[in-house]
């Protein structure tokens, strides 16, 4: 069963896309369904990729670095951070540490990412490799509950493709953009704004979760500004666990 072809947006999906999405849910062409799923947030990766490509070349790195970073690392926020580090040629150990601190949040994603629906070693391997924030947001959404593995991996391939093509195009076209122009990286803030709004819409009525998330972020910003993401995720998870334990203790008393 499938809920709709246009997953996050209410944007009108072309009828043929909607039809193939229904077929795809039956185990047919997962890629056709994925095309519809990726239309919304996925296409948002194109302007973000363009912005990243421009950032790469304006920093003085060769254009192919945009393609290399986006296809091999495939972790947007780390790639943005890596550009100045690579320009400064910092030691590889610093790069490993940065990658760890920026991406350690993905450890938490394994609790809810539907990898168990993906079949085959190769598909599973790719699916973990391509488990980005965007892929996680889309596949854990309310309307993705019934997606078969093929549709999940198909969506991941498309998101990967949008990101690599956007970045490569941005790097190649960046000579057209004045080097003094700043602020294209706001596309990442806008992307997470959209993902947060969509995720919150799925959990209407669950006010404590976003409140706890904002509190965790503030605590992390205040106490551990150098390790913001790691600290925020740890505090947030601890908060959710505490809340769960308190609720369980209360219902045990009752």
């Amino acid at each position: 069963m499938v809920i709709g072809a246009a997953t996050l947006a209410d944007a009108p999906a072309a009828p043929d896309v909607a039809a193939s999405a229904r077929d795809g849910a039956g185990g047919g062409s997962g890629l056709a369904a994925a095309l519809g799923d990726s239309a919304s947030v996925g296409l948002g990766l194109v302007p973000l990729g363009l912005a990243f490509g421009v950032v790469v070349t304006h920093a003085g790195l060769p254009w192919w670095c945009a393609t290399l970073f986006t296809s091999v690392i495939y972790a947007g926020s780390l790639e943005f951070l890596l550009v100045p580090l690579a320009v400064a040629a910092v030691p590889l150990a610093s790069i490993a540490l940065t990658a760890f601190l920026v991406n350690v949040r993905h450890v938490f994603y394994s609790l809810s990412f539907p990898l168990h629906r993906v079949n085959g070693r190769l598909a599973k391997a790719y699916s973990t490799f391509a488990m980005t924030d965007e892929a996680y947001a889309l596949t854990t959404a309310e309307n993705a509950r019934e997606w078969p593995g093929r549709r999940i991996v198909g969506l991941q391939v498309l998101l990967h493709l949008y990101w690599v093509l956007g970045a490569t195009a941005g790097a190649l076209l960046s000579t057209l953009i004045p080097s003094g122009l700043s602020g294209l990286d706001f596309a990442m803030t806008a992307l997470f704004t959209v993902l947060a709004l969509d995720a919150l819409r799925d959990r209407r009525g669950d006010l404590p979760t976003p409140v706890l998330a904002v509190l965790s972020a503030l605590i992390a910003r205040w106490l551990f500004p150098g390790q913001f993401l790691l600290a925020a995720f740890v505090v947030f998870t601890a908060g959710l666990l505490t809340r769960r334990l308190v609720t369980m203790a209360r219902s045990a008393d009752a």
Binding site: A86, A99, A137, G183, T189, V194, A196, A199, A232, T237
Partner: protein, 110 residues
């Protein structure tokens, strides 16, 4: 300018660490899937995670320079407004970014 060898090595290191963080926890945590606590966590986590990532993007808001605050705040408002209005991720991202680029560069000119 770093040479190509360094760039490839840097990308290799970053990719290996990232993939390990994404793949290895599944080996440990799959066993926990049947637990009701993990199920509740996984239902609440996506929304909280995205809110935290948004806060992370906003962590460097120039709160001590009120003159530079309008650009990110207005752009954020535009992104939210566009998204609540049309619910098109592409439109919200492109629109919000254009608003930010225009405002940020207009401020820099003065």
């Amino acid at each position: 300018m770093p040479d190509a060898g360094y760039l490839f090595a840097a990308v290799g290191v970053a990719a290996a660490v990232t993939w390990a963080l994404r793949a290895l926890p599944f080996a440990v945590l799959t066993a926990l899937r049947s637990s009701a606590t993990v199920r509740e966590l996984s239902a609440r986590m996506p929304a909280g995670v995205m809110v935290i990532l948004l806060c992370y993007c906003l962590r460097d808001l120039p709160v001590t320079h009120p003159g530079r605050l309008p650009a990110p705040l207005v752009a954020l408002g535009a992104t939210v407004g566009l998204h609540l209005w049309r619910r098109s991720a592409l439109l919200s991202i492109v629109g919000g970014t254009i608003v930010y680029v225009v405002l940020a560069n207009a401020v820099h000119l003065h």
